[in-house]
């Protein structure tokens, strides 16, 4: 069985100490215990070395086996997520999502506009308080359906709302439809 501490812990010396051959051997045994991975029974056991003893830059992602990494420290992806379809033929749509858990959220919003034609824009917005992300799509080419997608990352407190709104604008009101809203809490 691997050892959980050095074979000879707490060695210390003061002036006038005379080191015997036995003590020197103990020091060597301590060094071997750290070094000698080829003899598992003599080496340091798993979890015997705490992370505070590791230099930050010695911990690199290439040392991680992602297939066996346990999930305890993973971000709670999908822990608080919503994935809703917006099927509407109104020219203006709004979808409000109220956050129940404080965290950082990835918000995705996609929508398309029917009868997209030259000069008619699809406008999408995701807002959280005074923060908002907007795009306008279409308007420059003759297409039947103008699609648009917008995404945003917001830090939100429990009780905050995200507002997803779409408009089929231009010189006249055009319908928006077949949209989708996704909200995923990253951590």
């Amino acid at each position: 069985m691997a050892i959980t501490t050095l074979p000879y812990p707490n060695m210390d010396f003061v002036p006038l100490d005379v080191l015997t051959a036995d003590e020197l051997d103990q020091i060597v045994a301590n060094i071997d215990a750290i070094n000698n991975a080829s003899i598992p029974t003599d080496s340091i056991a798993n979890s015997a070395i705490i992370t505070a003893k590791l230099a930050d830059d010695s911990v690199t992602s290439d040392k991680i086996d992602w297939t066996t990494l346990t999930g305890a420290s993973w971000p709670a992806v999908n822990a608080d997520a919503s994935n809703s379809n917006i099927n509407s033929d109104a020219w203006y749509n709004q979808y409000d999502y109220s956050v129940t858990v404080t965290g950082v959220y990835l918000c995705l919003f996609t929508q398309r506009m029917t009868d997209g034609s030259n000069g008619y824009d699809l406008q999408l917005q995701i807002s959280h308080g005074s923060d908002s992300v907007n795009i306008g799509a279409g308007g420059s080419s003759w297409v039947n359906y103008i699609p648009g997608t917008v995404f945003a990352v917001f830090k939100a407190q429990a009780g905050d709302s995200f507002i997803f709104s779409s408009k089929g604008g231009g010189s006249g009101a055009h319908h928006t439809q077949n949209g989708k809203v996704s909200i995923v809490r990253l951590y």
Partner: protein
């Protein structure tokens, strides 16, 4: 250079671990008494322990140790604990500043043989 004087308490910078530690040595070590050298005729024991003196900015950590023929480790630790209470912070700070890996200061405190 510091020489070995049995039963005389020395003050040094803190050792690697804070706890009480003991180290045995075989007989035949060269020790001094009244500047006269002799050889120890039995096994000797070195007892050492770290202590923290003072508070706040004056807080100083030191190591007290001594070498003796006496093998009673419990008695030795008690003696060191009692001795640590007698040392003032200024003396401790001075000793730590002057300490190197090999040099230390003897105090005028002696462990009396039983």
């Amino acid at each position: 250079m510091n020489t070995l004087e049995l039963n005389r308490v020395a003050i040094w910078k803190p050792k690697l671990t804070d706890g009480f530690s003991v180290r045995e040595s075989a007989s035949g070590r060269v020790a001094y008494k009244d500047k006269i050298a002799y050889r120890t005729n039995a096994k000797t024991y070195r007892y050492a322990k770290n202590y923290e003196l003072g508070k706040g900015k004056t807080k100083t950590k030191i190591c007290l140790f001594y070498v003796t023929y006496e093998s009673d480790a419990k008695e030795a630790e008690k003696f060191l604990d009692k001795t640590a209470k007698k040392i003032d912070v200024a003396t401790a700070q001075q000793a730590v500043i002057g300490s190197t890996d090999t040099s230390f200061e003897y105090l005028d405190i002696y462990k009396e043989n039983k």
